[in-house]
């Protein structure tokens, strides 16, 4: 069972997965873009500006999911001290930061035609901005602190403290009066979004997930090579 967790085996599967994702990615992207930009209907209130949702919502979901995974893995690292976990969190963080920034930027662009303003310090947007700051803190700890153990401890603490912000982001639209609309898609209960918009949204989300997997695998592979490079010097 543990043989599969061996770095050599992981490395082998990374190569296979990267090849597979590369082979299907562009076809899926074209299909998803066609639905998002052509086949999905305009909103009865927002018109065609609703199409921004197809990049904004998946970006926000990925930003939140990435930080939640980093936090949970950091807790696991504190308990089990598995070195591999650090490689995984380090590889996820830049992806999460980029998508959180994209959610903020595309949200701001969507805000102008919808609310008449580019930016407002309401609960949802402010808590998303704080999430981006947590990502910056996590990544810069690894860049600025040379001592690996110290960097790991500090970044883990940042990730665990940042976990408090995740439910705040999720429920900010329910707890406070914000410009941001409440969630239209619910895992439990009935979603208020029509299937003609839900399907392109899920397709775009799937394409973004594939892209994240591709970047994660390349970053993870780079981290493995860095370790092997260090080991070679010891021979």
């Amino acid at each position: 069972m543990f043989k599969i967790l061996n770095l050599s085996n992981i490395f082998y599967w990374i190569e296979k997965l990267i090849g597979f994702i590369n082979s299907v990615f562009f076809i899926l992207l074209l299909v998803a873009l066609s639905f998002a930009l052509i086949f999905s209907p305009p909103d009865y209130l927002q018109g065609d500006s609703v199409r921004i949702m197809y990049v904004h919502v998946p970006s926000a979901w990925i930003g939140l999911a990435s930080f939640s995974s980093i936090s949970i893995l950091s807790i696991a690292h504190f308990i089990f001290k598995i070195k591999n976990i650090r490689l995984i969190t380090k590889s996820i963080a830049p992806i999460g930061l980029m998508f959180t920034c994209l959610a903020l930027v595309t949200g701001s662009i969507w805000g102008q035609p919808t609310w008449g303003t580019w930016w407002v310090w309401d609960a949802r947007i402010t808590s998303m901005f704080i999430l981006a700051l947590f990502y910056v803190g996590f990544i810069s700890t690894h860049k600025l602190i040379a001592n690996e153990n110290k960097a790991n401890k500090i970044s883990s603490i940042i990730a665990i403290i940042g976990l408090i912000n995740i439910p705040i982001i999720k429920y900010s639209v329910d707890w406070w009066n914000t410009l941001h609309q409440p969630a239209s898609i619910k895992l439990i209960g009935e979603s208020s979004i029509h299937s003609s918009m839900l399907m392109p949204l899920l397709l775009m989300f799937f394409v973004f997930i594939l892209y994240c997997a591709l970047i994660f695998l390349m970053k993870y592979k780079t981290e493995i090579i860095k370790i092997k490079k260090k080991n070679i010097k010891r021979i």
Binding site: S8, G47, D48, N231
Partner: protein
């Protein structure tokens, strides 16, 4: 029809702007990640090649990763 599609009923700048920013950012992250990976692969392969014959043999026999990187690196040359 194409003009309607591009103008998005007056929201074209916002919609296309969002999509372009997203895909440019994704493209840049992909480019940077790919470039860094290739740089480390190249350096790793170079370090193995600089080892003496016996050491190189030990490394390749004991590390599947080293042999994979070496073979993929030699393919790209």
């Amino acid at each position: 029809m194409i003009q309607n599609f591009l103008s998005m009923n007056g929201y074209g700048l916002f919609v296309w702007g969002s999509f372009v920013i997203t895909f440019v950012a994704c493209g840049l992250l992909y480019y940077r990640t790919h470039k860094t990976l290739k740089k480390y692969e190249r350096e790793f392969a170079k370090e193995i090649n600089e080892l003496s014959f016996e050491r190189k043999k030990i490394v390749i026999e004991n590390s599947k990763i080293a042999s994979q990187v070496l073979s993929s690196f030699s393919k790209t040359i």
